[in-house]
Symmetry: C2
Subunit: 764 residues, 2 copies
């Protein structure tokens, strides 16, 4: 579990992360080490990986610093001293580990098939390394493996990893392949098990194979085809404890291989590894399509150029650190969802059959409980074509599985977290007019996913009790609040499509949150089936992922989750004054009970920026007449809970959500309700930002007098005219336009404080 | 494990098995209850199932009498009193259970989702039944479910099961679907686990779904599409302990469904269930192709007609019991291998990718350690086209997995048993000139499978030590003997293809059996790597499937396993006299140690007809000048260790091998070496047999004076000419011809006793 980061411990040390500057206006600011490791024992990382990937690509070729990665889930901890090897796919910022397929490690000397332990790295094939001899930038990773004096460089295309190893002179040079490297198989609750695997020596410069395994994704099949730039002299295959020199094929569950070379000093050997979730034939095909040659530098440049193109969609001006955080954030946001389809469109569907996507893309890694909040709204602005493809991919789960994704990994539903937050993603895109998907069919999927009982979503009980009873389904307060929000989204699309009966049903359900409000305590609390409140109740007591009414949070943090009707929430507590007092208490109440959920971190009072339930809360003063407090806390989070070190995030980066909060907030606005086309205004910290919206349209933000002490808005202009509202709308952005701020060190309490300045609560 | 059947307990009771006579000259003799259950506690069954299947079909729709079938592996025990339901696929005669997919059970009254226990059947959905109200014949099964007064009838096409349930008048009639019914999940060593499953209510008369599970087959995906002839009024889906009325889709690992009907008295409801290992779409397609309509009787007749066509390939005359045993035996031999390809040719390859077979067939269920002995030689004679398809299917494992099948289930290798007995199957077919497969490519597969180390086949040690050391691989004596035989087969095909170097290598390896012959004890015994004999040694001590040098047998039973060079074996013991004495002892030595392997049964002295290592041994007197003893023991086995009761086999029927022994032996000859084109003559018990060889050719056998007391050959004619050899050859059969025996009650010790009469030891 994560260690708690108290606000006083946030580290702004200018840790110099090894990184050479690449060409490119924007990629130069990306530092893939941000989020890769806590700088001290009490700080937090983002659980990101530093290796090579292309935007939304299938392959993430990156070093693993542990043999059986668990925490951080990315496999790489900046604090570790050894590298185990380079595996081909990784999750970015998640709380749970998986993937790590087809690990390769160059070595010299005696062949070792075990990885070694952190305590005794020299007992296995792993190597010591130093950050002084390590580089990472988009499309490139390099590290000197000290034990072997081997310089390892990595780059990648969407489906292919390319390794370049510079060996010393040695008659016993090797490349080890470890097909048993996986998330910790001893962690019983993910049941990680390798069901079958194969390594085949096709010829003296080609290896193929696969492994089939269960883990966080309940069944993954990963096939690979690897070509080496130099023929190997000999091979040793291993299964379990037994080794087989010069065997050409091996099947089993615990497989390894050593490919042996005689290398001259500084001799470079390259390996390109095509991957596919469908077949070795497809893995070969993916190489043929994406990386037929052997030009490492050109491949790395092309990968970098892909990033440059994507990052250029928002041009900013700010401090160097702000640029590094901002562009690394976009980089993290575009690292997934991942295209699981092979170049011919073949993919593994949610029902584990093999299907084909006519558009050659099938995206997965949908960490929706996190990413529906800000990452997907960001994609609608600067990745509209990808948004279409994401929705069409999610719709395929509906087709084969009966409901939209909750947490989809490798095309497979793992039911991690709560709610059905594909709904706000799709509704937001539909209401914003993103083209390329069938809105009527999408509505049918949304409605079906909102009526069909499924794990974590007991809709029969929802209809019957008008809240989720804790004795029907645990995490009941969080589910009640989040499902009410999802229902509001369904209602909006129903309204747009003229489905009045559906609108009436779902808008009514969207108000069920009120049924768990306890006027005596002033909190949303769990009720049982019999209508009684669950006792005892402590608003600071944390839940995790079951066994408590609150999901990875406490009642304080979940109190604010009514983004569909903030005015309704304000009404529950008795008006703006009481609401503002409650917010003030929330941001200042520092007592914490002994047991804090490991995901809650980055505290400001009870506010925990390190986990998603808090992400909209700083903006709520906008709704209750005290926008300067929004400005204060937003700026505080931007300035104090993000930095450009390896522990640059105050909690898991969560597949782009933590970054997307920064992306929006640093420009001065944020989608409190991710599906109503309204962005609450916070506190811009960037001097300038230009969002390329496609079709030649650009939305520009300028802020005068920005600076750490100037968090307060003095005045605003929209398209040249004075602007007093604490929000802008999607139309303001989509039409192209110009938003100008003047900042200062003291609040302007006249700005944005009229009742009519409050962000729209009810959509477009 | 199986109970031991001593010879004195063999039951010839004319147990009347419920069976109505179908139309058809040959199908009328098939009694699917043969082999379905021991008639008393000390007797044995064949582990066969009584339900409906078509020759080599994908679906075996049959009743299961246990909730978590284990032993018998077929799921049905004739001694059980309750039926749990009807699942769609079953293994016939194996020692290990698997499959049992998509169980359906019609019920009335309250819905129950658990099956109940044998002790308390009424606690669940299972029902009592009586053999008096049960019928089985090819393509048809019927049983009255007493608890519900429901008559259930089953028939099938290759990919579709068709159920017809005749309900009583009841407003609470149901069809239960149990997707959690599987081999015993508590049996840790097969690791049976349902990874994922789905049930979807498509409309009021259609259900679809799938399950993905590991078991004996390490990963199976089974998709189904079920259509009902009458709309159901309502449904209840269940996951784990929770039930969901009128839910349309459910995903999970422990899924059930109840479909509810209001039935009139005698109202019939039909269900047709299409199955596919690839997708629900393919399952639908399989129904559309094979069973678009609803004519139960016509479907059953067509299934029966398919059997009639296949059974007519051998026409016999004999007693009614002989005909019943004979044709039921052919029925069991043709129950598998099973076509795992959908009607469009899609199948799951051994590397668990999805592939397509151009010929629309991909056969699996290769129990090769059993079936290479007699079942595959039988297929070469009367199923030559299928033999081609079997070989092409096995070659696909070589392509994707690196070596030929050992025990292939559901297209997947499970490494059950020892040796690489796809080799004799392919070599036999190649040498017999079966067309339709690439012999050069097949040879490459055979050679590769004989040189590549793989589980159970440590060929590096084989080359180094010239025997398998027990401290390298357990079951070393059995593996040494069987691999030596496989090597002899490789040598024969090498010779035919002009690969002289290969011939020299493999013919040398085929003699390695001698290296484990201990002249001091007169047995094949385990050696260790250091060349010493493993001690202690007891020739009657049994091994199982590891931990002993002998596989499911003892040293006595494995002593005789040199079918490639019986004269060499005779030479080892010092000539015919010593050899015959050893055989005499073998057939009469009745002492058994306390612990007999459960697969050893059907004893005559140390001879155990219930398991395959003994199957050729009765014929060995033919090689050593005392063919009348072969005749005696062959007739004894035919007459005493086969019958037409539910315990008609003296051990597991083993996917056709036990039956094929009978098929050959009852006609008077048997392939002691399954790949040398030589059939040793035993003791015919049938009056007449005609084998249709295709192309208008027929081989005929006639035997005068057959009878239980007339087991001895008096004289033989081949094609009208007196014939003194104790063998016939493949050419004698393949050319068409006529073999005539005159039998009598006393041995004719002048027949077949010249040295030149001995079966050829060295092939064609």
């Amino acid at each position: 579990m994560k260690k708690v980061l108290s606000i006083g411990l946030v580290c702004f040390s200018s840790l110099v992360l090894a990184q050479t500057k690449p060409d490119g206006t924007f990629v130069q600011y990306v530092n893939p080490f941000i989020g890769t490791g806590a700088v001290d024992k009490n700080s937090l990382s983002g659980s990101n990986f530093p290796g090579s990937t292309v935007p939304f690509g299938f392959v993430q070729l990156s070093p693993d610093t542990r043999d059986a990665p668990d925490d951080p889930a990315s496999g790489y901890d900046y604090n570790d001293k050894t590298i185990v090897g380079f595996s081909h796919n990784h999750l970015s910022g998640t709380g749970v580990a998986d993937l790590f397929d087809v690990l390769m490690m160059p070595t010299t000397g005696d062949v070792k098939f075990n990885a070694g332990t952190p305590d005794k790295p020299h007992s296995g094939y792993s190597s010591a390394f130093s950050h002084k001899e390590e580089t990472a930038r988009p499309g490139y990773y390099q590290v000197m493996l000290k034990d072997y004096n081997i310089n390892a460089e990595l780059t990648s295309t969407s489906h292919v990893g390319l390794h370049r190893y510079t060996f010393p002179q040695n008659a016993q040079s090797h490349i080890i392949i470890d097909m048993d490297h996986s998330l910790d198989k001893k962690r019983g609750y993910w049941s990680c098990k390798i069901i079958g695997a194969e390594i085949r020596v096709v010829d003296d410069h080609t290896i193929e194979g696969y492994r089939i395994l269960s883990g966080w994704a309940k069944l993954r099949k990963i096939y690979f085809h690897a070509e080496f730039s130099k023929p190997f002299i000999s091979t040793v295959l291993a299964s379990g404890g037994k080794t087989y020199p010069d065997l050409t094929i091996i099947n089993g569950s615990n497989l390894k291989a050593a490919l042996n070379f005689n290398t001259a000093d500084k001799e470079q050997i390259m390996v390109k590894v095509g991957l596919s979730p469908v077949s070795t034939e497809n893995a070969r095909m993916n190489i043929k399509a994406e990386l037929p040659g052997w030009d490492f530098n050109a491949t790395s440049s092309q990968s970098s150029a892909q990033w440059e193109k994507e990052l250029s969609k928002i041009k900013i001006d700010g401090t160097l650190e702000q640029k590094q955080i901002f562009y690394t954030g976009l980089y993290h946001a575009f690292t997934q969802p991942n295209n699981m389809a092979d170049v011919n469109g073949d993919y593994q569907a949610t029902d584990l059959s093999i299907a084909n996507a006519p558009d050659k893309t099938h995206y997965s890694t949908f960490s929706l409980w996190d990413t529906y909040r800000a990452a997907h709204p960001l994609y609608t602005l600067i990745q509209p074509e990808k948004t279409t493809a994401f929705i069409n991919s999610m719709m395929r789960q509906y087709d084969s599985y009966g409901y939209l994704p909750i947490w989809q990994l490798w095309g497979d539903e793992n039911y991690c977290m709560i709610g059905n937050h594909a709904i706000p993603v799709i509704v937001d895109a539909a209401l914003k007019g993103i083209p390329g998907f069938n809105v009527e069919k999408a509505y049918a999927a949304i409605k079906g996913s909102s009526l069909t009982d499924h794990p974590g979503s007991p809709f029969t009980a929802w209809a019957k009790y008008q809240y989720i009873p804790e004795d029907v389904e645990s995490q009941s307060v969080s589910i009640t609040l989040e499902v009410a929000y999802d229902d509001w989204c369904v209602a909006q699309l129903a309204k747009k499509l003229g489905k009045d009966e559906d609108y009436d049903l779902f808008i009514k359900r969207s108000e069920f949150y009120k049924n768990l409000y306890n006027t005596k305590t002033g909190f949303f609390q769990a009720k049982l089936k019999d209508g009684s409140w669950q006792e005892p109740f402590n608003p600071q007591s944390y839940g995790g992922n079951g066994g408590s009414p609150y999901t990875e949070a406490n009642a304080w943090q979940y109190f604010w989750y009514v983004p569909q009707n903030v005015s309704g929430l304000i009404g529950l507590v008795g008006g703006n004054t009481a609401f503002n007092q409650k917010l003030d208490t929330f941001f200042t109440l520092r007592d914490k009970p002994g047991e804090v959920n490991g995901n809650a971190s980055g505290f400001i009072g009870q506010y925990a920026h390190g986990n998603e339930p808090s992400h909209h809360i700083t903006y709520l003063y906008d709704f209750s007449g005290q926008p300067w407090k929004t400005q204060f806390y937003v700026a505080k989070v931007l300035n104090e809970l993000y930095n450009n070190s390896s522990s640059g995030y105050s909690g898991n980066e969560d597949c782009g959500q933590m970054s997307s909060w920064y992306t929006f907030s640093s420009m001065g606005f944020y989608p409190v309700n991710p599906a109503n086309g309204v962005y609450a205004i916070g506190s811009p910290i960037l001097k300038h930002a230009e969002i390329s919206l496609g079709g030649g349209k650009t939305f520009t933000m300028d802020a005068k007098n920005v600076g750490k002490n100037n968090c307060y808005i003095q005045s605003v202009k929209l398209n040249g005219k004075a602007y007093g509202k604490t929000y802008i709308t999607q139309n303001d952005i989509a039409d192209g336009g110009k938003l100008e701020f003047v900042m200062g060190s003291k609040p302007n309490k006249n700005w944005g404080t009229k009742p009519t300045d409050v962000p729209l609560a009810w959509g477009y």
